[in-house]
Symmetry: C2
Amino acid sequence: MSTIVNRRDLDFLMYETHNLDELLERERYSDYDKESIDAILDLSQSMAQDKFQPFAGYLDQNEPKYIDGKVEIIPEVKEALNAYKEAGLFASGYDYDMGGMQLPCVVHQSLSAIFVTANTSVTNYIFLTQGATNMLNACGSDELKAKYMPKMVAGDWYGTMCLSEPQAGSSLADIRTKAEKLDDGSYKITGTKMWISGGDHEMTDNIVHMVLAKIPGAPAGVKGISLFLVPKHRVNDDGSIGEPNNIALAGLNHKMGHKGTTNCLLNFGESGDSIGYLVGGENQGLSNMFHMMKEARVAVGMAATVIGLGGYLYSLDYARNRPQGRHLTNKNPESPMVMISEHADVKRMLMTQKAFVEGAHSLILYAARLLDEQVSAESEEEKTKATLLLELLTPICKSWPSEFCLEANKLAIQVLGGYGYTREYPVERYYRDNRLNHIHEGTHAIHGLDIMGRKVRMADGAALKALALEIKKTISAASAHDQLGRHCQDLGAAMQQVQQTLESVSQAVDPSLALANATIFLDAMGHVVIAWMWLKQAVAALDGQAKGNANDAAFYSGKLAACKFFYRYELPKVKASFELVSSLDDTCFNLTAEEFIGH
Amino acid sequence: MSTIVNRRDLDFLMYETHNLDELLERERYSDYDKESIDAILDLSQSMAQDKFQPFAGYLDQNEPKYIDGKVEIIPEVKEALNAYKEAGLFASGYDYDMGGMQLPCVVHQSLSAIFVTANTSVTNYIFLTQGATNMLNACGSDELKAKYMPKMVAGDWYGTMCLSEPQAGSSLADIRTKAEKLDDGSYKITGTKMWISGGDHEMTDNIVHMVLAKIPGAPAGVKGISLFLVPKHRVNDDGSIGEPNNIALAGLNHKMGHKGTTNCLLNFGESGDSIGYLVGGENQGLSNMFHMMKEARVAVGMAATVIGLGGYLYSLDYARNRPQGRHLTNKNPESPMVMISEHADVKRMLMTQKAFVEGAHSLILYAARLLDEQVSAESEEEKTKATLLLELLTPICKSWPSEFCLEANKLAIQVLGGYGYTREYPVERYYRDNRLNHIHEGTHAIHGLDIMGRKVRMADGAALKALALEIKKTISAASAHDQLGRHCQDLGAAMQQVQQTLESVSQAVDPSLALANATIFLDAMGHVVIAWMWLKQAVAALDGQAKGNANDAAFYSGKLAACKFFYRYELPKVKASFELVSSLDDTCFNLTAEEFIGH
């Protein structure tokens, strides 16, 4: 079996659960049908298996090195990226007008995800390039786009995002990088940027940095941030590479995971001028950056999900082939050993992984579908609904897989036992890689504040209402099936508790106390949303069962079991969480720094 | 502040919570008082800080190498171990009759723990040597003891435990290593042992392996396992080192954490005879090994706890000194930033770490105290009670910190944000190191089966009754304080739910189904026990407060807050877990291997 993708499940999620076939009927995607998409996924899977997966462990153990001011990366990385480029896959992330393939986001995210599972570190270069390119396309001037975009779309040049600084991680209000306007309309950029993935390397002729900086005299805080395109090498008018743009590599960060991606501290304008070009209006940097971040956050959720998937598939394959021990009731030590997939606790660990990973996967594809709705829905009303749902669900898409698919990775290690804890097997690498996802693209806490402080209340609660309505639709479809009756009740009750919790909290006199347990709310509301996703899948599985394809019998009954598992083992946990959040507990909130250890 | 130990809290736990002063009055420990123990802990702390902590990160990044059949380890490891040896600290783990210090286990575990936090990988050599030595002392012949023990007690030779084999991890019934009796009464050992920490190196003149093997003709399964002492180098009658004993280093395992400890695959008797000596009776190997494992399991729990402590202290120190962002209600970006310890979610993450780590620490010291009771209690009744409680609590001591102090380590990374994810800071190393603790010394699942299938039922439920009685005593003491009234009720109710759950489950027709969710029971019962530990600490804190030392005001109010935190944020979670276990849910249990992915 493939350990990077379960194509049967991907089909189930894309077509049977989220009706991709319906989407493909729209004008915008009329060049595609299931067959052509299958072909793209086949190509992706075989390239990921042949060119990306084989050296993922080796790359992890041979991370980029800083030598004489340059970054050395093992050659396999460039070879893999070149194969990806030569197959034209960089174009999978763009529309026709940019020279792209104009794939549904559902398909683009799915094909990208196959490569993430195969070799996360390598795909970061692709992901960042596509993000920078889309940002440039959305906000840049025609001149700037003409000069940079074709090279980026083709994958000749890579891109990066330069937001954080050593003193300002989550707090972008406090960035210090300065952009001083020059006579020709360009800007001189001075400052230090931290945590820049893909920030320097020799794999491409140029690297296009998208940099947040402040123009002197701009308003304080986030309102005074502007976005600049700052290339590693300046580009001549004829498009050829000009002189270096004086971006000094000050050092590499050495991470616990994602070790194959060079992660840099960059000094702009230290050894000479670093010239940048304004992207979008002055002081519009943050909103321009966030424009791109919407999809990026969904993509981070997808990465967290499929890193979880990699661990799940690997540990499942292992468990089905590793003999050890006997059934509990068999006391004869001379009887043959059974595969460990026969042991109850191994089953529980595999099922937990399945429920987390496939539940998250469904949510991410649903969100990708909403992104597709935003550009293809046939009415304004549908577009508005998609936007509302997407705004509300984005913090969950980003955060829930980061938390629970990491938990899945922890269990994958456990299934393999001592072997899982060694670098000879990939599951510990997945665990290390996935731990990043709570931190970047907004920390877990920031998404808690986002959903509870903003998203549930936006447009007079319209997003939450829209979600409640969608959930009701699923419950209504599910109620036709007796065996889902109890789940329908439980989901309805949980959604009611979400609303009651928000009501209780809205009574708080101190708005900071109201948000003090926002992270707990985020995780619990995520559980409710994933329970919804499992009910959706259960309905789809019952529909599939009714069609009576014997080959799919085990697949569908596994889906129904996973749904039941989530409702019995996981959803009941949210009650205590919502009660806690409702109570406006101030135990942590009121604590002084001294009380932790007494001085 | 020290980032490896909080001496104020250690004092609180040892003396104020668990009455070490009372223990020190007993004959067995009459050479010690608080002052002399302080001096031992002072020495340990300064040596750990000076000789162990400084190179922990460097060792992690420069793990032992296999070169020409030998293991190369950076010289700092031997230097640190020699300092430990020269200070006589190897003797801290033994009684006077072995040439040891005869410290209370409470103190021995505490001083050892300081070194674990400072540099886990190095301390594994000490821990294994002390375990092997105690096993030899308990079960070995006088002749064998005379020949090997003095060198081991002094720390001149190190020891190992050789249990697992490549095909038999958790399933010791299936080990294949063979021991054939020779004419002189010794045995020829043949076979392969896996996961041997400290299995080979050049730091000592000899390594003493304690090896499980089967004598031809012995009963099948665990009843046919015997224990052997097999030295790396044979030892002449005069105690000098003889010829090599032909134990070949077949390879090193490369772990995610504990990277500084050499972990080996060893071949016995491949290139010549490996001679071993029976320890204890033939076929008594497993019970002899388990004799040692009791304390080892408590020690693993201590290691998991203090690796959690290291992350907690480091992230607390960081949070109190890292400025970033402003209070939520402060919208002025020109106002100064606050320390991140001011942010509500950072407080929550620090408090969660505190509650997990200090709760676990209290439990481990309680268990260590029970070990002391076993050898020093003044009545047989007290000894029996200590044994019962220890049997019941050992699976929790080993497992609860492995799960929840790992969770603490996850949060320590989060407090540091991007920095926490890099190897420039120790918190990611703690996270990697701690992940081992679910796996070794019995996996998490095995301890679930142990507690639910054996320990709660042993001696007609006497252990569980003894625990319930102890908890009642604490509740009774706590009820004198109004502010603990609610906690008393909650703990009483939770303990009742433990008993109800066990009753429901005992109705199961299929004993395997009854144990199918034993891991969930283990974690939930652990939560109840830790809640008890927090109530104990709260009573001690109120007693301390009553004494009115102003210096301790913040310390005690922090303790009371942590107790409240555990009762409000954590204990309510167990309800759903116990309900699930009671329901004898078979969702995972009945699943076939095909249902996971459909084929």
